[in-house]
């Protein structure tokens, strides 16, 4: 059935990597005995992912029609459907590209850490390819069964990868929370697919597309998808596990979990809401935009509170996911109001942000890994001055920090620009409440972007600039070439995609067309590969290349003029320390991460987080040191999870009584239950 001979090779190319990755996982099990296997597994994973990237690009560029393949495995009589269309190909590109750089970085990372303070290679090695295989399977699955198997493989592999650092004190808590959230998410998706497929028992996507659920079912599916995929992606308030679990894994795995796995969740949202669920209603997009706006602002505020480098990055992922979900919501709203061109613009903005985030977030996690390798600490308040000790890492980190802060002409800005252009088209919507909501959402995006810049000034300034705040930071050295190469590849792409974004946007245009039946570009536009001028946008254009050239030209002019005219004399001296002759050797008198966040904590955190700074100032004459303590509470825990936990506790206390009963009582109970069931059956049947 359904094998399209012309398109067969591409899908075949996508299926083989999964099998090879699983085989590599098996090879990895042996790694404990032979360390060289580590190189083989990472090398193999990198090559396989590279091949998958190539195949995905070819499938997108060739505008291949959707291809299906039915494998005689899985559930009896149903089999395993595999399906490759433009949307899958796009996400395969993102996931496997992350796989390539993570393999490269991971190989260097594990060599650097062999016998060191991070995870030994044993537990990570077999799980790393398995994790990638699970994500690949989700993306090429053509039925709910394959999708959920892949989803669970992805979740379980990443859960075990989180547990690979089990010697660290917070890890067990992080892993437990992750397992609970992952099970919750999978259960939601399972129910959603059940509702989508209806009573026929055919779980292939084709059958799901043909089945039309009623309104109540649709509402339930939308909410379940937002809960299920949202818990994986990190939508507030389901984000609580991200800042714990993402940093706990080894850094290249953190990069994949934060930069790539969240994208698989985005894929689930797009696949179900745009493709499988039929004609959208405007409220789906409204709910998504509201969730996205809250997520974006809260995520970046969380990030501003964190002193742990990797935790900060994980929180910033929450913010970026919020931006993507806002874009998806906008696209749904416009699709529902039959303006597909603007929907295409919004969806393109979302998908571009998916690529961008996967690039700069993996880059920044590799940077965190490099810093961890060099210094042994992830605490911002113990870093500083790394720009002198790790010059190349510092440059690459600066690229990542500028890109994620949406500075032109880097890639983050292009995504933001497209999103704003889509938001500016909102007056075309017929729904009044939505128009007001979208203006507020626009303000939330702007606020989140500005706060993200503050967050990454804080990150870069405290980790790389200033003076070392600990001996470890003072004695750090540059990391090895494999790790630097792993960081350089995404950094170069951040610049390239910022300068020339249109080739990429054109590349994944088939995916956009497949979802909203329109593309964002006008082919009549002048030099469309150079100018970013979406037709649906209100007469605007942007050109990163010309901007970069002009900036370069002006800089050359400026430097030449200054050095011709100005004095070239330069003298090194001590910094002005308000009267202190020598700066303090531990560097504690400089601004740290917590002090940098203080104004923002006071301005924004007071109401949201109940953030309080307490100063314990001794009386004059008292010799004990003054102390500043900062406290804040997470509203997600206070309002959502703690009450749920308490309710569950209360219920278990009540149910506990059932454990200690006599046989006679158990029999009575069973009899009563039987009667009750029979009554229910009798009532419902007639």
């Amino acid at each position: 059935m359904g094998i399209n001979p012309a398109g067969f090779p591409a899908l075949f190319l996508m299926t083989v990597p999964i099998l090879i990755l699983v085989a590599l996982a098996a090879v990895g099990v042996a790694a404990r005995r032979a360390p060289w296997i580590s190189a083989a597994v990472y090398g193999g994973t990198g090559v396989v992912c590279g091949a998958a990237v190539l195949a995905a690009v070819l499938a997108l560029a060739g505008r291949a029609p959707p291809q299906e393949l039915l494998l005689p495995m899985g559930v009896p009589w149903i089999g395993l459907h595999l399906r490759l269309d433009a949307l899958s190909a796009f996400f395969l590109l993102v996931v496997n590209f992350g796989g390539v750089t993570a393999s490269l970085f991971g190989w260097g990372y594990e060599r650097a850490h062999h016998g060191g303070h991070d995870a030994p290679p044993g537990p990570v090695l077999p799980l790393f390819p398995l994790f990638l295989a699970g994500m690949n399977l989700v993306l090429v699955a053509g039925d709910a069964f394959g999708f959920l198997v892949g989803w669970e493989a992805m979740s379980l592999a990443s859960w075990l990868l989180v547990l690979s650092t089990h010697r660290e004190p917070e890890t067990p808590r992080a892993a437990r929370l992750y397992l609970i959230m992952a099970s919750f998410g999978a259960a939601c998706l399972l129910l959603a697919f059940g509702l989508l497929a209806g009573p026929t028992g055919d779980y292939s996507f084709a059958a799901i597309r043909a089945h039309v659920p009623d309104d109540a079912e649709v509402a339930l599916v939308v909410l379940l998808v937002l809960l299920g995929a949202g818990s994986k992606a990190g939508l507030v308030p389901l984000h609580v596990w991200l800042p714990l679990a993402h940093p706990a894994a080894p850094s290249h795995v953190s990069a994949l979990m934060s930069g790539v796995m969240t994208k698989v969740a985005i894929y689930a949202m797009v696949r179900i809401l745009f493709d499988l669920l039929g004609e959208p209603a405007w409220w789906w997009g409204g709910v998504m935009m509201a969730a996205g706006a809250v997520t974006a602002v809260m995520g970046v505020l969380y990030a501003l509170m964190q002193d742990d480098v990797k935790r900060l990055l994980a929180c910033s992922t929450i913010e970026n996911i919020g931006a993507v979900v806002i874009a998806l919501g906008l696209a749904l709203v416009f699709k529902a109001s039959h303006t597909p061109v603007i929907a295409a613009l919004a969806l393109s903005a979302g998908l571009l942000h998916v690529v961008n985030h996967s690039l700069f977030k993996t880059l920044l996690f590799y940077v965190a890994g490099a810093v961890l390798t060099a210094t042994g600490t992830r605490d911002l308040n113990r870093l500083g001055g790394l720009i002198h000790r790790m010059p190349e890492t510092a440059v690459l980190a600066l690229v990542g920090a500028s890109a994620i802060s949406a500075l032109p002409p880097l890639n983050g800005f292009v995504g933001e620009w497209l999103l704003f252009q889509a938001i500016l088209n909102a007056p075309a919507l017929p729904e009044w409440s939505l128009k007001i909501a979208i203006a507020v959402v626009g303000a939330a995006v702007a606020l989140a972007t500005a706060l993200a810049a503050a967050c990454f000034v804080r990150f870069y300034g405290t980790a790389f600039l200033g003076r070392p705040r600990s001996a470890e930071a003072g004695g750090a050295g540059e990391v090895g070439p494999a790790m630097r190469a792993g960081m350089a590849v995404p950094a170069v792409l951040c610049i390239l995609l910022g300068v020339l974004p249109t080739p990429l946007l054109r590349l994944f245009e088939p995916a956009v067309r497949l979802m909203v039946e329109a593309g964002p570009f006008d082919d009549r536009a002048y030099q469309p590969w150079l100018w970013l001028s979406p037709t649906s946008a209100i007469g605007n254009s942007y050109n990163g290349l010309i901007m970069l050239v002009v900036i370069g030209l002006l800089s050359v002019l400026l430097v030449a003029a200054i050095h011709r005219r100005a004095s070239d004399k330069l003298r090194r001296s001590i910094a002005w320390g308000c009267g202190f002759e020598t700066p303090d050797p531990e560097g504690v008198a400089q601004y740290g991460a917590s002090s940098f966040a203080q104004p923002i904590r006071r301005a924004f955190g007071g109401t949201v987080f109940h953030a309080r700074d307490r100063v314990d100032m001794p009386e004059p004459g008292d010799l004990r040191p003054a102390r500043l303590s900062v406290s804040w509470t997470d509203p997600a825990w206070a309002l959502v999870f703690t009450p749920i936990g308490r309710t569950v506790d209360w219920l278990t206390q009540r149910v506990n009584g059932l454990q200690y009963m006599t046989i006679r009582r158990y029999l009575t109970l069973m009899f009563a239950a039987l009667v009750l069931v029979l009554i229910v059956v009798a009532v419902t049947q007639r």
């Binding site: 001028s533 330069l570 003298r571």
Partner: protein
């Protein structure tokens, strides 16, 4: 209009903003001094200050990195480019289709990003305090400015400054509540972003009260000259931006107005704006750092309100014409 003329105008614009920026700063200082009953320095004093700084040697802290030394150049270039994008005397600028208002705000954001990093590079408490306060102010000011852009863009259906100026001059706008709100918000943001009095004091050297000065405390010689010149350019940029969006009359466009007329009208607008700023600065007191949030939060709410009004009122007319491609104007360049 021809491409050559546009490139020529663009070059003239880049040089003009460079030449006029210290004059504006000198003018504000002069008017302020007169309002305070002092004679004040000459109008040309800022030029002299800059050239004196350029001739001085650079004193660099021991652990200042390459970033610290290159930030003045980066930030000056970003602000210079941004100032070059705002139509000062004509809308026929070669770079107009390259970057719109959103890109302009992002360019200013980049300049701020790098300056804040430079503040943290030497590793003194002052640099850090300046950087952290600057980013807090930006966290309010940038969204307020973007919402102002939203209001204008929805009205004009473009975020391109040239198109905005053309539209505003066409006379079809009329008086609008949203525009008034946007103007107030933009003025408030301009005051904050240029480190002017209720938010920050450009003349102070009392460390605990300053924001911008604290960040650049370690700069000297040519670096300081660049930083100072960049902040002068930024003041000019905001004056030009307010003039271009809200009082564009006098600007030369493709159809009417002449270039000399545009130049004269801009100098006149600059004089008025500088005098108004000086008057404002002498009549208010500086606020505490944590009041800034309330001040700029007000700006953010005002601009958001303006944008919401427009989102709601612009629906129907929009509906019919949103689909026409309007990129032809981008074709002549390149």
């Amino acid at each position: 209009m021809s491409m050559l003329a546009a490139i020529l105008y663009q070059i003239v614009q880049m040089l003009l903003v460079l030449a006029l920026a210290p004059l504006l700063t000198g003018w504000v200082r002069l008017v302020k001094a007169r309002l305070l009953g002092r004679r004040g320095p000459s109008l040309l004093q800022p030029y002299r200050d800059l050239s004196r700084l350029l001739r001085k040697e650079v004193v660099l802290a021991h652990n200042a990195s390459w970033l610290f030394r290159s930030v003045p150049y980066m930030m000056f270039t970003a602000i210079w480019l941004a100032a070059g994008l705002v139509p000062v005397f004509t809308t026929q600028l070669a770079l107009a289709p390259t970057a719109d208002l959103i890109a302009l705000i992002a360019l200013l954001g980049s300049a701020r990003f790098f300056l804040a990093l430079a503040g943290m590079d030497v590793g003194t408490a002052f640099g850090g305090i300046g950087s952290s306060r600057e980013m807090m102010i930006a966290a309010f000011a940038e969204p307020a400015m973007l919402m102002m852009v939203f209001s204008v863009a929805i009205l004009v259906r473009s975020t391109s400054l040239a198109e905005i100026a053309d539209f505003m001059m066409s006379g079809t706008v009329g008086l609008r509540v949203s525009l008034a709100l946007a103007l107030i918000a933009l003025v408030m943001v301009a005051v904050a972003e240029n480190a002017r009095i209720p938010i920050d004091n450009p003349a102070t050297h009392l460390e605990l009260t300053m924001v911008h000065e604290a960040m650049v405390l370690e700069y000297s010689g040519r670096h300081l000259a660049l930083v100072e010149a960049a902040s002068m350019l930024k003041l000019l940029l905001y004056v030009a931006l307010i003039a271009c969006v809200f009082v564009p009359w006098g600007l030369a466009t493709g159809s009417h107005g002449s270039v000399p007329g545009g130049l004269v009208s801009f100098v006149a607008k600059m004089a008025v704006a500088g005098a108004a700023l000086a008057l404002f600065e002498t009549s208010v007191a500086k606020m505490r750092v944590f009041r800034v949030g309330e001040f700029l939060g007000g700006a953010l709410l005002l601009s958001l309100l303006g944008a919401i009004f427009l989102y709601v009122s612009r629906g129907c007319e929009w509906w019919t014409s949103a689909m026409t491609p309007r990129i032809s104007w981008a074709r002549w360049c390149c």
